[in-house]
Symmetry: D2
Subunit: 135 residues, 4 copies
């Protein structure tokens, strides 16, 4: 299994635009932290929906790569997200991902998103990644 | 009904981070264009999923405001997106939104996303906005 | 391409519990009709949500088989449905399906559901079928 | 809070067509059991997708009523379901629901569906119920 530090280096190198920190990594699970700045806020002083979607998608990808190793290619095919509470503008976003199915060609997982330190999730997502066959 | 130019100015002022152009605006529909640059790409030379989600969410919001006027507040409560084809790195993303329900407290719509000039959609989204009651 | 009558016979034989009529069938599209009886209603005199989900799923399957032929096996992997208006208890449900992607291993489509004769949809669904590789 | 027996009687009286047993009921959670018979199977000897959707929807409704009491009316507005494994034809379906948000006008929850006795879920759903304002 790939280590947390290896995976962090992979994302920093390959996805420099979507910075986040991997907080923990385990069999079929991952927790990531997104540092929130003014660029992530929308009017009303809350984290924008697209930032939450991006973090949810990233958490799924981290859990997938942490479980399967650095597979050459995996692409999101479906993401469903429910926005439930207004995220705090002054807190990081924490995404806890748990994989529900790890198949040969398809990985499905769920993600709960929190404002750091708050007990109730701000959003919840379910997503599917497809893993194209090696040719 | 709010005009296309008014709405464009509203977004440029209120959402400066998520730049797009409103191409057309009508009763319960809108088309927006997102100019794609290197910052929107992911490894493999394709537009990243989160960019497509952001454009889908924005297209819904434009159609909603174009239909209801500049309501004080509307928030996304659900977004479901299917990614179907690899978007082209060298083309703008075009999002065509059609509202399916315009209620007093809830607006539901669907969005087809295209690489500009291509016949088949790269993604398709369905989303719900809640309109909080005026107090 | 399989004909409407052939496909109707296939469903009547293979899925006797989920009776519906195929109204039209074309390249990447299908329209089916579900006759509504008392067994499909819920308190308040409206068609139950699960009946609409079943009809949406069936319309996708009809469009898939109509387009690809009677492939041995295809299974739903994701269905997302938004319920928008109260269906009429005294009208059939009409489901109009349009396929958005017809791939080798995956078919994605959308379905608009109506109470027969009404202009506005009662629900809208998006679904994915996986087509397992032939071994 | 309404008791498990009270709620069971409510469903048996109001929803006679969708029989299930409430296994447990708690603050913001519920577990229900659907007895599977030949009528619930599809070709290939597996529980049909629409049956799983119906059970997921019912589990959400049970958890909602168990938490809020027998509110006059609550209607599903969105359901998203991922089908992950083939359910066993010879086992009941068990649905474990956990509510993620209990608001005044909206309740959101997630449901994991199992073939009784199996460790991995056959499907996972997320759903939203709207609670219309009392007039």
């Amino acid at each position: 299994m790939v280590s947390k530090d290896e995976l962090q280096r992979f994302f920093d190198a390959e996805f420099p635009h979507s910075r986040f920190d991997i907080e923990s990594l385990g069999e079929r699970m991952a927790v990531i932290r997104k540092h929130i700045t003014g660029a992530h806020l929308r009017p009303g002083g809350t984290v924008s929906g697209p930032v939450l979607m991006e973090v949810a998608d990233a958490a799924l990808y981290v859990a997938l790569l942490g479980t399967l190793g650095l597979v050459a290619l995996a692409v999101t095919t479906n993401l469903n997200i429910n926005f439930m509470r207004k995220p705090r503008a002054d807190r990081d976003v924490i995404a806890e991902c748990r994989l529900l199915k790890v198949g040969k060609t398809m990985v499905i997982g769920e993600v709960s998103l929190y404002s750091d330190g708050e007990p109730e999730p701000v959003a919840h997502a379910t997503g599917t990644y497809a893993i194209p066959p090696v040719r």
